[in-house]
Assembly symmetry: C2
Homo-oligomer: 736 residues x 2
């Protein structure tokens, strides 16, 4: 029966025409206001012009856009001038930061074969931008320490903790050696740090073709995918911090203070040459990649590795534009995309910037025509994201007081393509996203965006032998773009929105990620031909912004928020149980010699070492009780909010103040115990390798630190915050 029910829901969604959706209720609006709001949105749509999009994307991507490049500053000026011309109040806010781009990078084989890696990417036929090599940064890991080493080369798969465990079982070590690792599996900054902890003296990162090379599809320019000479650029900085005063200059050197060994990045053509030179044992099966050879651990072949990367002060330019709200000017709806890119940056991020320009033009024109939004819009074009989310962090710190007082919502874009709408963020925003998706038409299929999301979810689930159940709830945000300070430090309900083809088992990584080939031509051929989805993204963003800015009562719903918290509690419990059980089991198998007996002689594996036993799962019952209270309060609020018709402004203001208090109820002023910059009890970037978002990070971090007392305390704090949030929802319900 379930299949049938789920099918009926989907059929209804597919059948829903935009016309029918016109009459659907709109969260936060009474019936009259809803109709006016939809009218406004359609007027905004009419301002979004394909020729504009194409011209802007072409212009924005016409030269390298890294921090310090002239064209990045020209883009900032162009964006500022454009928004000004559309009636926005624009500021360009400079920030001084330390930047490190290499002046020397060398990697070559020692001994008979003097093969040397090439850190440049050649021009390809049919893409004129790729011939513009002036000012293009080489493939590199920015903020790499300087260094010059001659040492044997060892292959360590993805360079993650379990790879070093495997290496130890193989009887090999990276001590005093240079490690060669794949770029997959975790953020680039993880790898050099782990290598250094294991005694390596240098790191070479390469993109194995298995990730996004020829096994995924034809390579560029025939197809979209990574060639053997496609390189990456990226930052080794992680938690950049600000100077004591709240930061006019962002001290980027803190990024890599813990790192002392040189790091380079190469393409898979060069990697194949180095891998072929390696002797030693064949690798464990799961280490083998997509190159046509048997991978070996190495140990004999030596390399010369050299990096010189002087640090220099450069200036970032954040462009921040304001359109003052007509009714509640002190409530800010913030919208951002970064404008810096590693090279031309069509996918990452300038398609998103193009959408932002289109929205700004449309909303500016509406305002000029007397249709000013009720809340103030703050549109930001950030700089320095690629160096470590520097621009948005600096702005948020400088404006921390204003953010606390005014910020209502933050909406982010970054890399975007075509296909399915993907919206990560605060679960209270699910209804807002669903409503917008139901009102928009998908260019490829003519169905609504929501119908396509539902179809994708149903097919993904079917491929796993399951039904898709319940509603689509945004996944909480981890790290990777400019939402970071807003979501995790200031507790602003945030969304990160894009279009893409990501599907389980068919994931589309962007195959030109951080390379020279992320160009206008590539984007028009493979990203979003005709820019139909850039236009759709602008419409999607404009609706998210306008519905938040104009809603009498903020369009937030909490049942999903509470059930999502329940799932996070379940997950934390299950993962703590599993970690405890697995560490016990592992040690039992070590102690009784099972690993030795179970090993395969020709692989010559040594038994693994004992591990520290993980803490037993804590007692989460108080938090569960609080979550149940929150769920009940959420259901009551959602029902009342859905039933409420137009509210008097004073009443609405009271409800809105309470809802905003709910959003910040989860902040710990002193920050999370293990990482004080982060303040949100329900979300933070993942700390484990390959984990994007850490649910319940205060408790989880304490568990990982094996600090039982701290675990108890964090459970208490999270429980108290949950009870406080539940009380606020009860208040909001009475205020409706």
């Amino acid at each position: 029966m379930r299949a049938v029910i789920s099918s009926l829901v989907l059929t209804a969604a597919v059948a829903a025409t935009t016309a029918a959706a016109q009459d659907a209720a709109l969260a936060g609006f009474g019936p009259t206001a809803a109709s006016a709001e939809r009218g406004l949105e359609q007027r905004a749509d009419a301002s979004i012009d394909k020729a504009d999009l194409d011209g802007w994307l072409k212009q924005l991507t016409s030269a390298p856009n890294n921090v310090g490049a002239a064209h990045n500053k020209e883009n900032a000026d162009f964006i500022a001038a454009s928004l000004r011309s559309w009636g926005w109040d624009v500021k360009v806010e400079p920030v001084k930061v330390l930047v490190a781009y290499p002046t020397t990078q060398k990697l070559s084989l020692s001994g008979g074969d003097p093969y040397a890696a090439d850190f440049t990417e050649p021009a390809v036929a049919g893409d004129p931008d790729t011939a513009k090599q002036a000012g293009v940064l080489p493939g590199m890991e920015s903020y790499s320490p300087d260094g010059r080493v001659d040492a044997p080369l060892v292959f360590v798969n993805e360079g993650l903790a379990r790879d070093y465990d495997d290496l130890e079982r193989l009887g090999a070590s990276v001590k005093g050696k240079v490690v060669l690792v794949k770029s997959s599996g975790a953020g680039r900054w993880v790898k050099p740090r782990l290598a250094q902890q294991h005694g390596a003296v240098g790191v070479v990162i390469y993109s194995d073709p298995e990730a996004d090379g020829f096994p995924k599809g034809d390579v560029y320019p025939t197809g979209a995918w990574r060639t053997e000479r496609t390189l990456q650029r990226g930052t080794l900085g992680i938690d950049s911090v600000l100077d004591a005063k709240g930061a006019k200059t962002l001290q980027a050197e803190h990024h890599t203070a813990d790192l002392s060994i040189p790091v380079v990045t190469i393409g898979y053509g060069d990697a194949e040459h180095f891998l072929r030179a390696l002797g030693g044992k064949p690798v464990p099966l799961r280490w083998q990649g997509g190159l046509p050879l048997t991978y070996h651990v190495g140990g004999d072949a030596g390399v010369h590795l050299e990096v010189a990367s002087p640090w220099e002060w450069r200036t970032l330019y954040n462009v921040v534009a304001t359109l003052r709200g007509s009714t509640w000017p002190d409530e800010w709806v913030i919208r951002g995309v970064h404008h810096d890119a590693w090279v031309f940056g069509a996918w990452d991020p300038l398609a998103g910037t193009t959408a932002l320009l289109a929205e700004a033009k449309a909303l500016g024109e509406l305002a000029r025509a007397g249709q000013r939004p009720k809340r103030t819009l703050v549109f930001a074009s950030w700089d320095g994201e690629e160096l470590g989310i520097l621009g948005s962090k600096a702005w948020a710190e400088r404006h921390a007081g204003e953010l606390a007082t005014h910020a209502v919502f933050y909406l982010n874009n970054d890399t975007t393509g075509r296909g399915f709408l993907s919206a990560g963020g605060d679960p209270s925003l699910a209804a807002l996203v669903d409503g917008v998706a139901a009102d928009l038409k998908d260019p490829e299929t003519g169905a609504t965006v929501q119908a396509r999301r539902l179809a994708k979810r149903a097919v993904d689930a079917a491929e796993k032998g399951r039904n898709a159940e319940g509603e689509i709830v945004p996944q909480r945000l981890g790290t990777g773009s400019d939402y970071l300070p807003f979501a995790h430090r200031f507790g602003v309900p945030s969304l990160h929105v894009r279009y893409g083809y990501d599907r389980d088992g068919d994931e589309e990584s962007v195959p030109v990620y951080h390379s020279l080939y992320d160009t206008y031509t590539h984007y028009q051929r493979f990203g979003d031909p005709g820019l139909a989805y850039v236009g759709l993204l602008a419409k999607t963003n404009a609706r998210l912004v306008l519905r938040t800015a104009n809603a009498d009562v903020l369009p937030w719903r909490y049942t999903s928020f509470a059930t999502s918290l329940g799932k996070d509690i379940d997950r934390l419990q299950a993962s703590a149980d599993a970690a405890h059980r697995e560490s016990q089991r592992h040690n039992a198998l070590v102690d009784n010699g099972a690993y030795g007996l179970a090993s395969v002689a020709y692989r010559q594996l040594q038994p693994p070492a004992r591990v520290d036993e993980a803490l037993q799962a804590p007692d989460l019952a108080p938090l569960r009780d609080a979550q149940q209270e929150l769920l009940a309060a959420a259901r009551a609020y959602d029902e009342a909010a859905g039933a409420a018709s137009e509210l008097p402004a004073a009443k609405a203001a009271k409800v809105n103040a309470t809802l905003r208090a709910f959003a910040t109820a989860w902040l710990q002023p002193a920050g999370l115990p293990q990482r004080p910059w982060y303040r949100h009890l329900l979300q933070a970037p993942g700390r484990k390798e390959g984990e994007d978002v850490a649910p319940l990070p205060a408790i989880g971090d304490a568990l990982d630190a094996k600090d039982t007392a701290q675990v108890k305390q964090e459970i208490t704090l999270t429980t108290e915050a949950t009870r406080k949030a539940a009380a606020l929802l009860k208040t909001a319900t009475t205020q409706l």
Copy 2:
């Protein structure tokens, strides 16, 4: 706690020395008899001589051993003479069969590039056998229909049903074309039949390196693995049948009466050339293999394919040797390995034949010394296994009456290597296998064979985050070797035993499977250096044989049998439920257009077609009740049998007769409804692609045929057989 318990059990097993095991109880023997039996086994061990093993393996593998080759006959004669010299009563039983080896095989590209595939394998340095090319069969699919076609080439992944579904979604077809498919995923015979059903006019099978080539390890002769020129040979015959009279001549043409298109097999070096010539769309991600190119579906490049393979009558030589039992000569313990091979056949099967020779010598010497087994031993060296299990099938049919009267047990070997003991077969034999494994020492680790099995199981489970629970129960047999007629047609409790490294996620397929490189040298380097495991296999077999031959009461236990039946019922129920649910869900998603909306534009997939809805899961409650009755009876029997001390011969004979009746209680004289040659209600070869064994095949086949009435009837028959078997166990318990 579970981890701890499981660890204690394992620790105990690891600590158990062979000395301590000496005193352990032996199923089927009283304490005095057990001690005598163990003494006997150690005398047998002493006869197993490494120089013998090495000499025999070298001699047996010194020339090609396919049916019709002179050396295969020489091996039969040598085996016969050897057993005779050790005091066995030996018969060589010839069987005439139709054999088809190609005289012409051609595969070349049409058009500009005249590239042609090579069906020979070159000699490699360091392996002198590989230079002996006289009489070596080419890489081929025996019994391929003759044919000569010029047609476009299409790549269809593994050539399985879901691959054709994918191809349809890509808008392509194999109609009138030659298909190129990987050899993995299912038996070779499946692929041409499916291709033909879809309208193909020819088939090319190749071994993609992802299966057993360079991604798994260094290729031969550096390492063990498949080179770009390593080929396969194999048979397209499936259910060979006998002539009406019960068969002096086996009519092998029935093998392929349903097949009319030519089939060849090539290496991955040649396959790469053909794959590179293919145009068309890039393949679905899961089709991509291990070669360094983006695989395409094809459609443009044409090939010329030609096969001429005249059919000729040849003679098989089954060698069957008897050692008459001292006490119960009419009860036969049968032991078999085939001796034909595609080329030299060191791994497959002559290491097993070498073990059989060692056992025959040891047991012959014991008999000469007055230690004749109580039951009659029948040792068989089968011929024609590679052509479709022809020799053992013919022998079993000819001796059907004797089998029904005399056969107690069948023990098979085929391909074997080193590492972990693997024993598939009747679950009633679990205790027998465990007892033997506990008494033998593993050469690589010095622990008992049982300790190593338990360790492997514990580590495999731990890698999946689980504890290994319960005892090790043999998996019922499917197809693939000479146990087939004994287990599935005559209901003889059977075991198929080997040593190998197979592990979940680290599976060791034999990387020279059916190739020229399956040589003495390869086996000594990578199969079993020093032949320590061939010797261990001989000791293992000798114990399995002797303990069955000498036990007063047959050493069979039934709790595992009954719980295993319970699991098969659960599995059948779950898979029927899943098939029903999934077909419904699939059709719902087709009907509401979800597949279209969920598809990724650049892949240009068409929505799939509706499927026939699978039957609802049947009511298995009566069978479950019967299984519970069987379980109770099994527990009672096992307890009583464990407690019984030495029984008077007459009493033991009655129990044994009842246990043998239990074994055949599962046979349907008329055969399974969809495939009458098979008669066992609890096991048959799998019918679905890639499924080795079909549990509860009578019910399962009827479900697949969507015949509700038949399903009911088969449930009734299986339930009745289960009740009858339970009654027999109750009788046996009273007879103890």
